[in-house]
Symmetry: C2
Subunit: 403 residues, 2 copies
């Protein structure tokens, strides 16, 4: 079955599969820019598992060493799959499939506060040591903004912070809320660029402690505070609300609550900016491997799922930027740094953990390069005239902000 | 009934209503920036009609002279209504109301090709003489782009053409399709900015003849051709597709067809730009007066109605700009020019026609200033990497294009 599927699928690039029984199967043909890849299955059972449910068991087989790369790297295998995925005719989804997906989304992403805490702990309470080994030095764990193609990862993360600060139209004295504040990078950056006060909320105990320590070390503890809280627990009013790389964890059944909360927290002349991964395809599902190992409860929305809720909440969507390929570049940097430090990480965790993360980083990069993933920056306001009438202010503010 | 409604509605500004029976009703209180307005109803029947179905009969009463302005101008009355509309709490729409609206949209906007021809003739086959009296000299009958607030209407229409040309990433030798080409202004402007060939299609016989005459006069007839055709009848492949102020006439039941047609006509490395009026509110209906007198078959979509179709058609939405208030300014210019030439227009048509158009222009301006209307520019591509990765190219191209 896998054989028939692969024969129909692989057209660009060459894939060699060696089964445990000693057979060698070849698919596709050499193509420029795609490295030849050869994989071997350790036993018949693992081959069958991948054949039956590839979206889950392909990743598991790689993690467990049941699938071994004999030629090429994992990123090459993903590039090969990605290229052919992009070539494939799009499958039309009927109403039954759409109904099933809607139900599955509801079950998988129910995400009441307690479950959200567990889901966040699963990923973000991993040791900071790990993230320090492959993120930029400022610990930005989200898509960078390559304002120019030759920027380093550090520069592109800083460019992202400036891009966001510009779109937030920061001014001295404003109160800013950062939903999903991580290790505090963005909140501290915004407070460093302009005399604003920032409240950050996170559900990760590891990140929360670290972020407050960073605020103290930067001498910004009077203006930047981090709380261990769910966004649904925040009260008060804010002039600016920003949320970077957190909306992916909200889950579509909670979108009404999310935007109603934003509406409750945002001042009448306020501006909000949501920076999130999105898909250019119609609504779908998170793949089962990612859901199990990386982001339980997470979901990547299509814009068509977000905008109805924005409209019902009474917001103006004042600008929607679609950042394509920036996350692919970010992930390439992360993967290369991760692999360069693989020995250190294996000593802290183990080989299986390293393979799991390599699979996650390489697979995500493929998703952004060939799989229809993007990042959208959705700017919201309550009034028609809060945001300038042309977008020229973004670049002007970027130039004016401290480098 | 109207009395009770108005007493609850008018909070900002003062409205005086004199009934045919001689009663004087006062609503609201004076407010800065809102002129006092007094209206009088000629007879009891017209007062009752407006009370029963204000969305249709308010406009008719004004056209027919059954509603007379005794103090203030029509634009002041709309400003007064608009301000209070914006203050009003948003009414939540239940599933029954949503279902009814969806059905009504389907019936009102069925728009097969023959009906589209009739609908277009209703508005766009009005004498060019009329439009010459209030549009800019280049005859751009769509929202201008006020790149700076102090631009004249002529300058802002030219700025719109340059903004669109920049987003289309024009290059010599490209084939461009202009869907809804009007009097040919944009097609001729694009061909003047870059050595591209442009095919324009329109359903208006008046506009079609005039546009071809302009192409000949400009010495561009070898590169710019206008056809009297429906967009669904176009064949071939285009590098660039642009559509300005036409999507409002497509009607939501035809969106699948519209984007499937775009997908069929756009080259794999092509770019399309749709410039259309949109609403920030959830999907609704065209008001009955506008549907009857101005734009039969027309519909102003919410982005939430457009994006699902874009996704299903397999397009990347590469950029979504939301132009707020630009059309309010455009309409203000048009209305002032129209009123300055009212005597001339009355001599060609009649008083009732003048009032109908004044009502349309002032009402539309109110819609963009206070009623949640906007213009969106939706840029589409088939490939992830056709459009540059940052939006900086837009301003750079605008500066480089001939003024």
């Amino acid at each position: 079955m896998l054989e028939r599927m692969l024969a129909g699928f692989i057209r660009e690039g060459r894939l060699t599969v060696r089964t445990a029984g000693g057979r060698t199967l070849r698919f596709g043909a050499p193509a420029p820019g795609v490295a030849d890849v050869a994989i071997r299955f350790r036993d018949r059972a693992s081959f069958l598992r991948v054949a039956l449910r590839p979206m889950l068991h392909f990743g598991e087989a790689y993690m467990n060493g049941d699938l071994v790369l004999e030629e090429g790297r994992l990123a090459d295998l993903f590039e090969l799959c990605g290229r052919n995925l992009a070539n494939r005719a799009r499958s039309r989804s009927g109403p039954f499939r759409r109904g099933f997906r809607a139900l599955a989304r509801r079950l998988q992403q129910h995400n009441p506060i307690a479950a959200s805490r567990r889901n966040v702990a699963h990923h973000y309470d991993l040791s900071e040591t790990l993230f320090r080994l492959f993120l930029d030095s400022d610990l930005n764990y989200s898509c960078a903004y390559f304002a120019r193609p030759d920027l380093s990862l550090e520069e592109a993360q800083r460019a992202k912070q400036r891009h966001i600060a510009a779109k937030l139209l920061l001014a001295p004295g404003q109160r800013v809320l950062d939903i999903g504040s991580g290790w505090g990078s963005l909140a501290l950056a915004l407070a460093g660029m302009e005399k604003v006060s920032v409240d950050g909320v996170t559900l990760s105990t590891e990140q929360h402690a670290r972020a407050n320590a960073r605020a103290a070390a930067a001498g910004l503890a009077d203006r930047v505070r981090f709380r261990l809280a769910d966004y649904r627990e925040v009260t008060g009013t804010y002039d600016r609300i920003v949320s970077v790389g957190m909306f992916e964890h909200v889950g579509s059944p909670q979108y009404e609550t999310f935007f109603a909360t934003l509406r409750r927290l945002l001042a009448p002349d306020g501006v909000a900016l949501i920076h999130s991964i999105g898909r250019m395809d119609p609504p779908g599902l998170t793949d089962p491997w990612t859901r199990k190992y990386i982001f339980p409860g997470g979901y990547i929305p299509a814009l068509s799922e977000v905008l109805p809720v924005v409209e019902r909440a009474g917001f103006w969507a004042t600008d929607i930027e679609i950042l394509r390929l920036h996350y692919a570049e970010t992930l390439r940097h992360w993967r290369e740094r991760f692999l360069a430090k693989k020995n250190v990480i294996r000593d802290i965790y183990d080989e299986r953990f390293c393979r799991m993360w390599e699979f996650y980083l390489a697979g995500s990069e493929m998703g952004f390069r060939h799989g229809g993933l993007m990042v959208f920056q959705l700017q919201l306001a309550r009034r028609v005239d809060t945001v300038p009438l042309t977008r020229d202010y973004v670049r002007e503010a970027e130039s004016a902000l401290p480098a």
